[in-house]
């Protein structure tokens, strides 16, 4: 109020300046990571400024393409992560939720909502599968009298389409309900939507405090493991070396793509981006059963803190895995890197998902 009256609204001067003991994390991070779109499940994070109430605290962990003729809704509460309605018939609803309890329990719950008898767990193993979240989802197709949550009265002649995938500690479900005929017409678009869902968090994401998570490797015996760091799966360095390190990261989704990552590294080394021919000429090795490009580049290295390191080299491998992008990168003085190259490539080849 007061500054406006005094005409200070346009004064660009910041007047409130003080010093205090440091509490801030000055580590540079990608926007998606800062927004918690890489980690964490549903539920509020009170430290992030929310009160954990009904605010949209469940940061979207998923990206998707809304099918034509469908409308996206703001999910009510935190149970639903993404919520859709059929434009021409809002009675048909579809939503993605992250729940507990495994696939069998959720299928049973759905059967019950549709007024159907329970089936033995063995029957669930026989259910068809459809692509969902980059995995094979269990596909459920039920008809009956729907009495789901929040319904005051059961509705007859209903159909439920559902997809479920189980991930460590949680089950992700996509469910569509509505009158039989209306749902039948939307089956393809439902599957299309399911296929378009991608996790910002890779299915095989290691939890960053534990280090390796589900990824395994054989590290050269000349190397030693260094303390874990944010965003890195694991960090190694030649024994006793300073200024040289090798680490693995897993980026969510496409992670920006193979080319973009390789070019980013080239730029960090003060080199120009590669064209298509340049990429094609890069050496390939087998990582996690896939072809992965190997980049070797030398120059003046600018690290993420903006420090200049002269006469440095970078070795990098980028490998797309299901729903994520794995990178292995080694940087250091040029001569050291030349020595370590074979060990680096062996390390990359040794990577495996148990």
């Amino acid at each position: 109020m007061l500054p406006l009256v005094l005409g200070c609204g346009d004064d660009p001067k910041i007047t409130e300046i003080r010093e205090r003991d440091a509490t801030t994390d000055f580590q540079p991070r990608g926007t998606a990571e800062r927004f918690g779109m890489m980690r964490g499940g549903p539920g509020g994070n009170p430290h992030a400024g929310g009160f954990g109430s009904d605010a949209p605290s469940a940061a979207p962990q998923f990206a998707w393409t809304t099918p034509e003729g469908w409308e996206e809704k703001v999910p009510p509460g935190t149970m639903r992560v993404a919520d859709f309605r059929l434009s021409k018939n809002p009675e048909v609803e579809c939503y993605l939720s992250v729940v507990q309890g495994g696939i069998a329990a959720n299928v049973m719950r759905w059967r019950k909502q549709m007024g159907l008898e329970p089936v033995p767990p063995s029957a669930i193993a026989g259910l068809p599968q459809q692509p969902f979240l980059g995995q094979r989802g269990i596909f459920v197709d039920l008809e009956g009298t729907f009495a789901g949550m929040g319904q005051s009265a059961p509705r007859e002649g209903y159909r439920l389409l559902g997809l479920l995938v189980e991930e460590p500690g949680r089950t992700v479900t996509l469910k569509m309900t509505g009158p039989k005929d209306a749902v039948a017409g939307e089956r393809d678009r439902f599957l299309e939507l399911a296929q378009s869902f991608r996790a910002a968090e890779p299915a095989a994401a290691p939890d960053d405090s534990g280090g390796e998570g589900s990824l395994a490797w054989d590290a050269p015996k000349e190397w030693e493991r260094r303390p874990d760091q944010q965003m890195r799966v694991v960090t190694f360095a030649p024994r006793g070396a300073t200024g040289t390190e090798c680490y693995i990261t897993i980026l969510g989704g496409s992670g920006g793509g193979v080319e973009a990552n390789l070019n980013r590294w080239r730029q960090q080394m003060g080199q120009t981006p590669l064209d298509a021919a340049g990429f094609a000429a890069l050496e390939s090795i087998q990582v996690l059963g896939r072809d992965a490009k190997v980049l070797e580049v030398s120059g003046d290295y600018t690290d993420m803190q903006g420090n200049q390191v002269g006469s440095a080299s970078l070795l990098g491998v980028v490998c797309p895995v299901e729903g994520a992008l794995l990178t292995v990168k080694m940087t250091g003085p040029k001569d050291v890197i030349e020595n370590e190259k074979d060990r680096f490539l062996a390390f990359c080849r040794s990577l495996r998902l148990p």
Partner: protein
């Protein structure tokens, strides 16, 4: 009283029902947990029947009146017979037309059996669901009734299938020896959820339904021996056609349930609650208030000291019933008198009647005596209607935020007394303006002078409680949630009353309002009170809005329309009287004080 009702019961049921009085009495007192509270089965049954039949009793095929407990016994243990009985009240046959049952319609308002309605079940559920999407205040009466009927239908089904497992042959035995397959268990007990009949023996809080017992058993927690015995007793009752077997099983079930509940300290108030409903204090209060009003009306035509005493006695008896009911409710919940909207009606009525009688005692002008039975009858009538509209147990538990007896006893009671006094002032104001319109005691200036003083005095009394109550509410909020005034609708409602009364009092001091003006303003303040009491609850926002009820809108709008008419008539009669009287000194009316 109770003995008498047994006799009546016996007379009514001797031949018609299989339920002997002893069994009915057992089930009447059977403790169950419902909406978080342990209460007699008769309470649950009476509200269920109220939802379906819109009254607490029903007439069977032989036109015999049956109690809610007898009705529920019939539904639980003889569902096939119950499906033939007519206790689904349809107020408007348009509901039946809407679901395609035109051919069963007998008259516009009538009762139907489950079997008669069952063919339209699908359509009923579909429409009930569709109309449920419409906001409550936007629904037509037929839509609302259809939703209620759909819900009543489902509720009936839940009770009717509660004991399905007991009619399927030795299920409990199989459950006990482990020969019941998981699938069969789930199938047989899937619908057995209507009543939490089993008091837990492990010290936990939540009572269990038959389905809960079976789910726990499937999860590896076999039922306690007491629960198995109770389950078996239920099975015997459900499957046996033999009266003696039924009675013995009923006695066993009740005995075990009562024993566990007693150990848990949850049976203590059950008999009192049964007596509370048997007493039916508010209906009796209504009867005596009406009697009081009739007697008062007679004294207007034939003034007589004895008649007047009889009127006072009748009104006081009405008040005694009214107050007894309130006291019983306090004892049952162990709480101060006003917890929810229903309580406010009872309490406001009692305070209004008491205040009127005190006024009468002080000034003996007959105004208080007239107001008391009118307010009493209106209040008891509204409480009755409201209970029907809500159709759910009025003895309810409190949200954590409101759980403090001190503030409930101070703030809420003060505010409600303020409401009551504000409405009483309005009622006396009505005597003034209607008296003027119809020419009552024409020319008797001191009569009107005194009424206006009563209005003003009552308003000051109301202001005292409204101001103290409102500030107390702020202090409660301040000391419990850290804010004195949150601008919450209910808080604003209380503030509106205070502001209206303050405006009135200062305008009178300013010389803008005279006797007629004060009376008219008191009626307006009465409108504000009704808004704060009922209207803000209809906004559907706010921390305190303890009840939303569609039917309340209708009542409120009717009330305001009548008040509007009264005020309009007052305006007309005032204009007429002003133009009739030649203005002798025009200077005196400069500020147009009325």
């Amino acid at each position: 009283m109770r003995y008498l009702s047994f006799l009546l019961l016996f007379a009514a049921t001797a031949s018609a029902t299989p339920w002997d009085e002893k069994t009915v009495d057992l089930f009447t007192h059977l403790p169950v947990q419902d909406a978080g509270r342990v209460k007699p089965l008769s309470t649950v049954a009476s509200y269920a029947l109220l939802r379906m039949n819109h009254q607490r009793t029903f007439r069977d095929a032989e036109k015999k009146s049956r109690s809610p407990t007898e009705w529920l016994l019939e539904v639980l243990f003889r569902p096939d017979e119950a499906r033939q009985e007519k206790f689904f009240l349809v107020e408007n046959s348009a509901v039946l037309d809407a679901v395609g049952l035109t051919d069963v319609v007998r008259q516009r308002r009538d009762r139907y059996s489950y079997e008669e309605l069952a063919p339209a079940r699908g359509r009923l559920m579909q429409l009930a669901h569709d109309y449920d999407q419409i906001k409550a205040q936007d629904r037509t009466p037929v839509q609302s009734e259809l939703i209620d009927l759909g819900q009543a239908f489902l509720e009936f089904e839940r009770y009717a299938q509660l004991l399905d497992f007991g009619r399927s042959g030795d299920v409990v035995k199989k459950l006990e020896d482990g020969s019941l397959s998981g699938q069969d268990a789930v199938r047989l007990f899937d619908g057995s959820v209507a009543l939490a009949l089993f008091p837990p023996v492990d010290g936990s809080d939540a009572w269990l339904t038959p389905q809960d017992l079976v789910s726990l058993a499937l999860a590896g927690h076999p039922p306690a021996p007491e629960h198995v015995a109770m389950l078996e007793a239920l099975e015997r009752m459900a499957s046996s056609g033999d009266e003696t077997t039924f009675r013995e099983a009923a006695a066993e079930f009740y005995g075990r349930s009562r024993q566990i509940a007693t150990t848990r300290g949850e049976y203590r108030k059950i008999p009192l609650e049964v007596s509370y409903y048997k007493l039916d204090a508010f209906t009796k209060g209504l009867v005596f208030y009406i009697l009081g009003f009739v007697l008062v009306a007679v004294t207007w035509l034939w003034p007589n000291a004895w008649l007047k005493r009889a009127a006072i006695a009748a009104t006081a008896t009405g008040l005694a019933f009214n107050a007894t009911g309130i006291v019983l409710r306090c004892i049952l919940l162990g709480r101060p008198p006003v917890l929810n909207l229903y309580d406010t009606i009872l309490f406001i009525t009692a305070v209004g009647v008491l205040s009127s009688l005190v006024i009468e005692f002080i000034n003996r002008r007959g105004i208080g005596l007239a107001a008391a039975p009118i307010l009493g009858s209106l209040g008891m009538f509204i409480s009755n209607r409201f209970e029907l509209i809500e159709s759910r147990d009025t003895l309810r538990l409190l949200q954590a935020v409101l759980d403090t007896n001190f503030w409930l006893a101070t703030h809420v009671v003060c505010i409600t007394i303020g409401y009551s006094a504000g409405l009483l002032a309005s009622a006396i104001g009505h005597v003034y303006v209607i008296g003027r319109i119809v020419g009552l005691k024409r020319g008797n200036k001191s009569f009107y002078r005194n009424i206006a003083r009563m209005v003003y005095g009552t308003l000051c009394f109301a202001l005292l409680f409204s101001v103290v109550g409102t500030i107390l509410g702020g202090i409660w909020a301040n000391y419990s949630w850290g804010r004195f005034w949150g601008w919450d609708p209910k808080e604003n409602g209380a503030l509106l009353i205070v502001l209206a009364q303050l405006a009135l009092i200062h305008a009178k001091l300013d010389g803008r309002l005279r006797d007629l003006g004060v009376s008219v303003a008191s009626i307006l303040v009465g409108g504000v009170v009704s808004w704060s009491w009922w209207g803000v609850n209809l906004l559907g926002v706010g921390l305190h809005s303890y009840g939303f009820t569609g039917g309340v809108w209708t009542g409120l709008i009717t009330f305001w329309s009548i008040e509007g008419l009264v005020l309009f008539a007052t305006l007309v009669s005032w204009l007429v009287s002003r133009s009739a009287a030649t203005p002798p000194e025009s200077g005196a009316t400069e500020a147009n004080p009325v």
